[in-house]
């Protein structure tokens, strides 16, 4: 779409903060994203993911700092900066009274595409996202999956250098999720894609790099490979103890080596099952659990290792100040 130096970052944030009144939604975020990177943005609800995307796309102004897209400053040259971006917000911005083709023509016009290119580009995108069969139907009559495709199509229209997607597969059935992922994957070849999602496996599958936000702060920026290494650092045990939930929780919370604790349920009468996380680099947690239960008069009925997953990494990174997860 435009000529940008290969080595220049497409997205650059320098000390970006965003305040809503007195509440700080983003805290001093600095990062760069290069051409061709597929980046996942993770964080709990209220962590600032949508605010960050809105700031990146120029929908919201920053309170402090600077956003640069394709070398253009968002505050000084918003039109030039926005030209590089295709954005799918969490709720696809559709006009229900338009057909899919009318909608794409409208979006092409507001993106200032040349009149001669509009028809061909809208038709091409319709084909790519699988809207050809329903292109002349009103958007209000389309299923959620097709509506989401229309949202993705408007973001991809004009082949922007950067595609920003906020929860692109939210509310879709498994088949639709696979289709949308495939679309993103195909479009992302050679382009920069930034995806916000709460489905961690999805991020792990699509993205090469992960950004994790916690309370508006960028707490982690790493490659998927590094996440894999982090997985090795986390140990997880499944424990069944012969005591009631409250009593067992009180005992296990006193074990210093435990980094996270989650009640799973009651499999046997008079017992409770727990998932325990610990740092593999630290001391062996198993004797400590055994001793703690024995000293309190409880009995250990089962203890077995469980494989840690990306969800554990996410919880660890987004809630590192909370020692125990319950």
């Amino acid at each position: 779409m435009s000529s940008i130096a290969m080595d220049a970052p497409l997205i650059q944030l320098d000390g970006v903060s965003k305040f809503y009144g007195k509440k700080q939604a983003l805290r001093d975020i600095s990062l760069t994203v290069g051409k061709g990177e597929i980046v996942g943005l993770l964080g709990r609800n209220g962590a600032g993911k949508s605010t960050m995307l809105n700031v990146l796309t120029g929908y919201l102004p920053v309170s402090e700092g600077r956003v640069s897209i394709g070398g253009a400053d968002m505050a000084e040259k918003p039109r030039e900066a926005k030209r590089h971006i295709g954005y799918l917000p969490e709720l696809p911005p559709l006009y229900d009274s338009m057909t899919a083709m009318e909608y794409l023509r409208f979006v092409a016009k507001i993106k200032r595409m040349k009149d001669a290119d509009i028809e061909g580009e809208a038709g091409r995108i319709c084909g790519e996202v699988g809207l050809l069969d329903v292109r002349n139907r009103l958007l209000r009559n389309l299923s959620k999956g097709y509506r989401q495709r229309a949202g993705v199509a408007q973001a991809m229209l004009g082949r922007p250098d950067i595609l920003i997607l906020d929860e692109p597969t939210a509310g879709l059935d498994p088949k639709q999720i696979v289709e949308i992922r495939s679309l993103i994957h195909n479009f992302g070849l050679g382009r920069t894609v930034l995806i916000s999602s709460h489905i961690l496996s999805e991020i792990a599958e699509i993205c090469e790099r992960i950004l994790i936000l916690r309370e508006g702060e960028l707490v982690n920026d790493c490659k998927i490979g590094e996440i894999g290494a982090s997985l090795g650092e986390i140990g997880k045990l499944r424990v069944r103890a012969a005591c009631e939930e409250d009593e067992c929780e009180r005992i296990l919370r006193n074990v210093a080596e435990i980094s996270s604790l989650r009640f799973i349920g009651v499999e046997e009468a008079g017992s409770s099952d727990w998932e325990i996380g610990y740092d593999r680099g630290g001391a062996d947690v198993r004797p400590a659990i055994f001793d703690a239960l024995a000293e309190a008069g409880g009995k250990l009925l089962m203890m077995k290792p469980v494989e840690a997953d990306i969800e554990d990494i996410f919880l660890r990174m987004t809630a590192s100040e909370e020692r125990h997860e319950t």
Partner: protein
């Protein structure tokens, strides 16, 4: 701006809103025409146009209530504002679409003077001057509606708010004869939306009133742009 303008114009007629507005306006103005001209056998059409101001005051919020409020509520403003359009382009595109529907409605009311011409010989320049004044005051009403629509996410609130603003202007107008302090009365008279229609009604083109209506509309459109930008930050 053109894309937004065209889309909004079509939206009026793809939904019931445009038809409801035009039907309501033509029905009420038709009643006024029948009562003021046909039944009384009078050829003075500008008195009917004067009544049409109040008809448009009632019906104009139908045209403007959803313009900006609905975009915000449905988050479609994210599409418009991240595509490279400026808030000015969005506001103007929507304003001109409402103005376009109003202009079409004005054109449809031309059937009334045509009937008068079939029955008698009314003064054409007088009627055209009246139409110009009516269009200008209608422009001002629409700009107020657009402004209120920029303040809220709720269409109903936008409609009620627009009625409120226009009633406030009408009330100020009605207060003028009762104000005993001359300088206050002068200021109110100068700011009166409705009294400034009088020159057009009686056949004289008023430059000051024209400038006033254009400036009034521009000011409320500027307020709309500021309100939209303020709400985003």
């Amino acid at each position: 701006m053109t894309a937004v303008f065209c889309r909004e114009c079509l939206e009026y007629f793809k939904t019931m809103l445009g038809y409801v507005f035009i039907s309501a306006f033509l029905f009420l103005s038709g009643v006024s025409f029948a009562a003021g001209n046909i039944l009384t056998l009078k050829a003075e059409f500008n008195a009917t146009l004067n009544n049409c101001i109040y008809v448009f005051m009632i019906t104009s919020p139908l045209l403007t209530m959803r313009l900006l409020s609905e975009e915000k509520k449905t988050k479609r403003d994210q599409l418009l504002l991240t595509s490279g359009l400026s808030t000015t382009e969005i506001v103007l595109g929507k304003f001109f679409s409402a103005l376009c529907v109003f202009a079409v409605t004005c054109a449809l009311t031309s059937v009334y003077p045509v009937i008068l011409f079939m029955l008698g010989s009314p003064d054409l320049p007088l009627i055209l001057n009246g139409y110009l004044g009516f269009f200008l005051i209608g422009t001002a009403f629409i700009s107020v509606g657009v402004f209120v629509s920029a303040l809220t996410e709720n269409q109903l609130t936008a409609a009620v708010g627009a009625y409120g603003f226009l009633l406030l202007f009408l009330t100020l107008d009605l207060l003028i004869p009762r104000v005993r302090v001359s300088w206050i009365s002068t200021i109110l008279r100068w700011f009166s939306l409705f009294r400034r229609f009088a020159p057009y009604q009686f056949g004289s083109f008023s430059v000051s009133s024209t400038v006033y209506y254009v400036a009034f509309s521009a000011a409320f459109l500027a307020f709309s742009i500021l309100a939209m930008e303020k709400r985003m930050s």
